[in-house]
């Protein structure tokens, strides 16, 4: 389809969608209004389940089954990226070279690293009390590890980052969530029902299974993001194409119509 035809299709389709959306928006509840039937009920339920953070209560208690699906999407996507970015038969691995890092960058990155790990763990552990949770804290914790790459070089990151271990942790997080759901069945309740004692409101040991599920998600996301980023970093730094062209082979030569691959 030529660009001209494509733009016409887009214009007609876009105009249609815009009209439908504008029509729908005029019938929506007023912005900022007080009518939030689901929200009101969700907050009441969160308070009943002793969860200070109502969003965490919705995610890990009232909609825990949906979050299991969301977690499965994350798991599947990490798996898919590992498969798509695996080392092809005609590629080989090179050892990354030591990199020069200026002293202030190294100093501050190493200084911030433990703080970031701690922040990640805090955000995971307090998911049922304050904004945050397994998904957010997991990403923070995974980012912390990559400060090693900024502070020292890729070899330092590789030494700490055992991919076998993180892949296993990723699977263990996913399995932990399922097991927490099955534990509820053993206790005689529904799958993923909040069966643990609810504890004292607004303390670490409250909200029943919410912190447990948060921890499982936190482990999975932290490990999953590390594995995910490892695939991209390996592509950029470690994996070389077979014919000896570097990664930064000029785009012009590679974009030649039939001159792509040997």
């Amino acid at each position: 389809m030529s660009l001209r035809v494509r733009m016409w299709v887009l214009a007609v389709g876009g105009l249609g969608v815009a009209l439908l959306l504008a029509g729908a928006f005029t019938h929506m509840p007023d912005f900022g209004g007080t009518w939030h039937p689901y929200g009101t009920r969700a907050v009441a339920e969160a308070l009943r389940q002793h969860s200070a953070n109502a969003v965490a209560s919705v995610n890990f208690d009232q909609r825990a089954f949906d979050t299991m699906g969301e977690q499965a999407v994350f798991f599947g996507s990490v798996l898919g990226t590992v498969v798509v970015l695996r080392q092809a038969g005609d590629e080989h691995r090179t050892a990354p070279e030591p990199a020069f890092v200026s002293a202030p960058v190294r100093r501050y990155a190493l200084l911030v690293l433990p703080v970031t790990v701690l922040t990640g763990l805090y955000v995971i552990a307090h998911g049922h009390l304050s904004p945050g949770g397994g998904f957010q804290g997991g990403v923070v914790a995974a980012t912390a590890l990559h400060l090693l790459y900024i502070a020292i070089d890729y070899r330092a990151l590789q030494r700490v980052r055992s991919l076998t271990l993180f892949t296993l942790a990723d699977a263990a997080g996913e399995a932990g969530y399922l097991l927490a759901g099955l534990a509820a069945l053993v206790a005689g309740a529904a799958f993923l029902e909040n069966v643990l004692p609810l504890g004292t409101f607004n303390t670490l040991s409250s909200a029943g299974t919410v912190p447990v599920l948060n921890a499982a998600v936190g482990v999975e996301v932290a490990a999953g993001v590390v594995v995910l980023l490892a695939q991209f970093l390996d592509q950029a730094i470690v994996i070389e194409p077979a014919d000896g062209r570097g990664h930064r082979a000029d785009g012009a030569a590679r974009a030649a119509p039939e001159g792509g691959r040997p």
């Binding site: 959306l21 689901y38 999407v73």
Partner: protein
């Protein structure tokens, strides 16, 4: 103008679609898709907004003391962000492979099937 936030969401979605259609670079296309997805964040959060409302978190406010914004749509937005991020990662991985196998990331040049 109580419809304005909804219109912003619709505008974001259409701008993302425009970017996807006119894209000459697959990485740019993935970015445009992320813009489309962010329209849903804006839409969800504007549906849940409540004038004078605060975050639905009771760690520092007494329950019932202040109006709260809707936690349900915030939870949905979290799901949306997570799924959006993972989809972006998977698509970028595919772009890396397309670039390696075809030597280009211009969707218009990717006409024939290969390898």
């Amino acid at each position: 103008m109580s419809v304005l936030p909804y219109l912003v969401a619709g505008w974001l979605f259409l701008v993302g679609c425009y970017g996807l259609t006119t894209s000459r670079n697959l990485i740019h296309a993935v970015g445009s898709l992320a813009v489309c997805q962010s329209a849903t964040y804006v839409l969800l959060l504007s549906i849940g907004y409540r004038r004078g409302g605060t975050a639905p978190v009771h760690s520092d406010i007494a329950p019932g003391s202040r109006p709260l914004v809707d936690p349900v749509v915030q939870a949905l937005t979290l799901t949306d962000v997570v799924v959006g991020a993972t989809v972006t990662a998977l698509l970028l991985a595919l772009v890396v492979q397309v670039s390696k196998r075809h030597g280009t990331v211009d969707p218009d040049e990717l006409r024939e099937l290969r390898g």
